[in-house]
């Protein structure tokens, strides 16, 4: 058999993952609904005072997106563990880390990207000032893949556990903290007219560049540990 190229396996894997999502498109909409509902809870709890809502809007949007990402982490490997495809990925002639990177990117594009795209609508719910919208969008666009990559490492550690939902959240949240600080912090800084918002976005970008390389390797190591 000729050598399998990395690109063809990546294409095949991405097609399979997208197909699986498409066949269950109802499920795929759930993170979106969840985020919209969490955001809608805040005006209910806090009162519809526009100034107050506008002040906490960046934090609420970021926390809502982060929680939605947390809830989708379990689906990253769950079905593959149950039907044994993950073991086939371990045995594949291309590095496991590469397959995981493709998996995480597809997962991000199907669960987190829709959230980034509807965030202008959610921002409008919370009266976020329009001029902050670009900062929010950039921070989410840089931050959500970072959350997915970090989450992939933690989720990989728990693949051997049957009901891992709550544990996964407890493990992932401390690691998500810097992303939240820089992500929500950049919008908050821009809202206060501080110039440090650009620095926070650059740090998020730097973190994303690092995580794109290191997180798949760490996730692959974690899966080998969990399935050994």
């Amino acid at each position: 058999m000729s050598a399998v190229s990395a690109w063809s396996t990546a294409r095949a894997q991405a097609r399979r993952d997208l197909q699986l999502v498409w066949r269950r498109r109802g499920d795929a909409a759930q993170p979106l609904l969840f985020t919209v509902m969490v955001v809608a809870l805040f005006p209910m709890a806090l009162g519809a005072e526009p100034n107050q809502l506008a002040r906490i809007a960046p934090a609420v949007l970021w926390v809502a997106v982060l929680l939605a990402g947390l809830l989708t982490l379990d689906s990253l490997y769950r079905s593959d563990v149950e039907d044994g495809s993950l073991e086939q990925m371990l045995l594949a002639p291309v590095p496991l880390a590469w397959l995981l990177l493709v998996r995480v990117l597809v997962h991000w594009a199907t669960t987190a990207l829709p959230l980034v795209l509807v965030s202008p609508l959610l921002a409008e719910f919370l009266y976020l000032p329009r001029e902050l919208l670009p900062v929010l969008l950039v921070s989410l666009a840089l931050g959500t893949p970072l959350l997915s990559l970090l989450g992939a490492v933690v989720a990989a550690l728990t693949v051997g556990i049957r009901r891992s939902g709550m544990l996964l959240a407890l493990l992932a949240l401390p690691l998500f903290l810097p992303v939240l600080v820089f992500g929500a912090g950049s919008v908050m800084a821009a809202a206060q007219g501080l110039s440090s918002w650009a620095g926070a976005l650059l740090l998020l970008g730097a973190g994303l560049a690092l995580a794109l390389v290191l997180a798949p390797l760490a996730a692959a190591a974690a899966i080998r540990i969990a399935l050994s």
Binding site: V154, T158, G160, L167, P174, L177, F182, M188, S228
Partner: protein, 249 residues
């Protein structure tokens, strides 16, 4: 092979470690208890009251050693975990997992004493100061390691997975620390800086050093005790383990 290296390799064997731990655990606890008694006596009765903080600064003689231990134990846990993952030494898995609860308790003590100290000094039980916040995150990381270790059935796989999490935590701890500091400067928290260690009068220092050494001795005793118990539980089927635990054949 030289003798030190030989001894080191032999220590990796469960029965040899069991004898070693049984021998040195009382020394660790004993030295720790005596040291803590001397240190606390010095801290409570010998050292004069601080001219600014009065008597309430005396809690720092517990707080500072505990804070030191909370970080040191985490680093040690990650080192054991790395050794366990790289060289597949079973004993290091045991030791890494034995570190986690001890470190978590030291972290909890640090947070509790810091909070009690903060009440008269800052006028509040809790302040979102970078030190406090990162100590809290450290506690969460410890609890995550303990939780993951408890959640996986197979003992070896559990220790290796939790150890890996500890290593990931070590990589992210400086980033978390830095991010918390950045976040704090953004929120402009009005905090009073804790006085630096160098500002301490030399006459106040000796109980602190005694306490620092005593907590380390206590940690060694506790680590050996916990690791020995776990080690025996894992080897429960073997004759030497039954004999060491005093179980009839």
């Amino acid at each position: 092979m030289n003798r030190l290296l030989l001894w080191f390799h032999q220590l990796g064997s469960p029965p040899v470690f069991d004898r070693f731990a049984a021998r040195w655990t009382p020394w660790g606890f004993g030295l720790g208890l005596v040291g803590m008694a001397i240190g606390l006596y010095g801290a409570l009765f010998v050292v004069p009251a601080d001219y600014q903080q009065g008597d309430s600064f005396r809690i720092l003689y517990i707080h500072v050693p505990a804070a030191w231990m909370s970080l040191m134990v985490y680093a040690l846990m990650a080192v054991y975990a790395a050794i366990a993952l790289i060289w597949h030494i079973k004993l290091c898995e045991v030791l890494a997992m034995a570190c986690a609860p001890i470190g978590a308790w030291f972290t909890a003590v640090t947070l509790a004493t810091g909070s009690i100290w903060g009440r008269p000094m800052w006028g509040t039980w809790w302040d979102w100061d970078p030190r406090l916040t990162s100590e809290l995150v450290l506690l969460f990381l410890y609890l995550g390691v303990i939780g993951l270790n408890a959640a996986i059935e197979d003992r070896r796989a559990a220790a290796r997975a939790a150890g890996f999490l500890a290593i990931v935590g070590v990589v992210l701890l400086p980033i978390i620390r830095y991010s918390v500091e950045w976040w704090n400067s953004l929120h402009q928290g009005a905090t009073i800086r804790m006085f630096g260690e160098d500002a301490m009068d030399p006459s106040m220092k000796w109980p602190l050093w005694v306490m620092i050494i005593a907590t380390k001795a206590w940690f060694v005793g506790s680590l050996l005790q916990r690791a020995r118990a776990d080690n025996l539980a894992r080897e429960a089927g073997k004759d030497w383990a039954r004999a060491a635990a005093g179980v009839e054949k």
